[in-house]
């Protein structure tokens, strides 16, 4: 017998593999496949309090071993999400991590309250890469603002809270410690790296929004380092992500100290990647005679 189930807050996930928010959309079609039912959790695209139409094109651009995106969190808003999208997503039977984002701590809390009405969610993930209206930075770039949002949500929600951290900071460990102290049940790391690419012929940004977020294998070594440093300092579980394409990549995150791992951008290239990652983790554990995933998590030689 092999135990690969993991725990965040009081929620048990059957295995450690999920998908990064924004890479599986809300489309029923993506979730209909029998392969999706094998995942440890699914994390649909971030929803906001009000509907958002997203950024003007061009929204994506290919880069070496990755991509830049500035989609602009196009989504129908939380009310329509709860009424129309969630019932279908829940039908998959896979634990659901609902990713939310808002423009203020109050709005984050309001959204968490709305989700209290829904039963059977696995966790709420806070997408903190949103503008912090008081200061000219993202919430996720400010330890105090990060803590404020988490405390506000923790005060009202009945679900475990996962804080998704931005790598665009001087010290991600400091933000992680602040998030943990504020009551976060887990950390998702990392979100995309602010980036740009220029069309030299037209001397314009290749992205309609001027800048965007870099993701894909290009960022993986940085993400692994950040997870490794943070895991050594916090007690809460980490969902590691950043350029995972196969089980070897996922194993790096787990060995670095992540409890779960998410496939993100590579879903766009190989929609079967999350399942291959899961199979590969099982095979690795078997080869190394491991019976519990906890033998793997954080097993890096220090």
């Amino acid at each position: 017998m092999m135990n690969i189930s993991v725990k965040i807050g009081e929620t048990v996930f059957p295995n450690p593999v999920t998908v990064a928010s924004g890479t599986f959309g809300h489309s029923e079609e993506m979730y209909r496949s029998p392969e999706v039912r094998c995942l440890g959790a699914i994390t649909p695209k971030t929803v906001t309090l009000h509907p958002q139409q997203g950024n003007p094109p061009r929204r994506i651009c290919e880069t070496p071993a990755g991509m830049i995106n500035a989609i602009g969190i196009e989504n129908p808003g939380i009310d329509i999400f709860i009424a129309e999208k969630l019932p279908k997503l829940r039908k998959t039977g896979v634990p659901l991590i609902v990713s939310i984002s808002a423009h203020s701590a109050d709005d984050f809390a309001l959204m968490a309250e709305k989700l209290n009405v829904v039963s059977g969610l696995a966790a709420i993930e806070l997408n903190l890469s949103c503008p912090n209206l008081q200061k000219k930075m993202l919430v996720a770039q400010d330890a105090q603002a990060t803590a404020g949002v988490i405390r506000g949500v923790k005060a009202v929600t009945r679900y475990p809270v996962i804080a998704k951290l931005s790598p665009n900071v001087t010290s991600i460990v400091d933000i992680a410690l602040a998030a943990e102290a504020a009551g976060a049940d887990a950390l998702s790391m990392v979100n995309t790296f602010t980036a740009m690419a220029i069309d030299v012929k037209r001397r314009r940004s290749k992205i309609g929004n001027f800048t965007g977020g870099l993701s894909g294998p290009a960022i993986r070594p940085i993400a692994v380092r950040m997870v490794c440093e943070t895991a050594a300092r916090v007690k809460v579980p980490i969902i590691g992500m950043g350029g995972v394409t196969c089980s070897q990549d996922a194993l790096e995150f787990l060995i670095a100290g992540a409890t779960m791992v998410a496939v993100g951008t590579y879903n766009f290239v190989n929609p079967r990647a999350p399942l291959e990652v899961l199979e590969g983790i099982r095979a690795y554990m078997q080869e190394n005679r491991m019976t519990d995933i906890r033998e793997l998590i954080g097993s890096i030689a220090r």
Binding site: E29, G54, I60, E62, A65, P271
Partner: protein, 256 residues
């Protein structure tokens, strides 16, 4: 996914003109499933360069063989020109919303294509071969290099009119110079695929004559499945994904 994700062997690669290539691979399941206007998403190399798959309209699908028509304009398509018989291609498809097939009563069917945008119309013409309507293909290309003998269209009952920028084939000018051939017939159906300015001209023409139309659009794509929302374009109903809501849209709803 309800789509097919599999590797298929290349059976032929051929140059059909100085600019265009035709790539054929054996894929009976795809050939059976694909509808005109749908596309397939091809991983053109094994590693991460280029990173995204590349979307191609299906040009033909018969006898278990699927074909695409493409121009080697970028990194992805240039790599495809190096494929040899026996190589395998990792393909996801068929994807996207197909063209609406013309009902039996339609009197006139007009395809208006620019450049390699002609690709989906070959499969479409195969599928409506038996349709009794008057059938017309208006084709615009840059020069002789961007045209090829459209005998297969003719075999499928299409009259083919060509315009080239330099006059090397057909009329010298643009495909819009051929619009006069579409005499106002209220039940005429217009289907178009090509550069955006061309499709904008087709939209203006169709609106002016009150004609029904559909257009197949192109955009840089990542997932091809409607998940990433990366290929969204503005429409009368807000942003819509080219890969999932399209690539075929109601001509009137597009914003050029």
């Amino acid at each position: 996914m309800s789509h097919i994700l599999k590797t298929f062997p290349v059976v032929a690669l051929e140059k059909v003109s100085d600019a265009y290539f035709r790539l054929a691979f054996e894929a009976p399941v795809l050939a059976k499933a694909v509808q005109p206007g749908q596309f397939i998403h091809i991983k053109v190399s094994e590693g991460w360069e280029p990173f995204f798959r590349r979307p191609f309209s299906v040009y033909r699908a018969q006898d278990g063989v699927v074909e695409i028509l493409f121009e080697a304009v970028g990194r992805g398509s240039r790599l495809l020109t190096l494929k040899k018989k026996g190589d395998t291609l990792d393909i996801l498809g068929p994807l996207g919303t197909p063209f609406t097939l013309p009902p039996a009563g339609v009197k006139k069917i007009v395809f208006i294509a620019g450049g390699v945008g002609v690709a989906p119309f070959m499969l479409f013409s195969d599928r409506i071969k038996a349709h009794k309507a008057e059938k017309l293909l208006l084709y615009g290309g840059r020069s002789r290099a961007h045209t090829f003998p459209m005998t297969a269209f003719k075999k499928n009952g299409f009259r083919v009119l060509t315009a080239t920028d330099d006059g090397s084939v057909g009329v010298k000018g643009r495909v819009s110079d051929l619009f006069s051939a579409v005499a106002a017939a209220p039940s005429a159906r217009i289907y178009t695929c090509g550069p955006r300015p061309m499709m904008g001209a087709v939209q203006a023409f169709a609106r002016g004559h009150g004609l029904w139309g559909e257009a197949s659009c192109e955009e840089v794509m990542a997932c091809g499945l409607g998940a990433c929302l990366g290929c969204s374009i503005p429409t009368a109903h807000g942003y819509r994904t080219v890969c999932h809501d399209g690539p075929v849209f109601d001509l009137n709803e597009l914003v050029f």
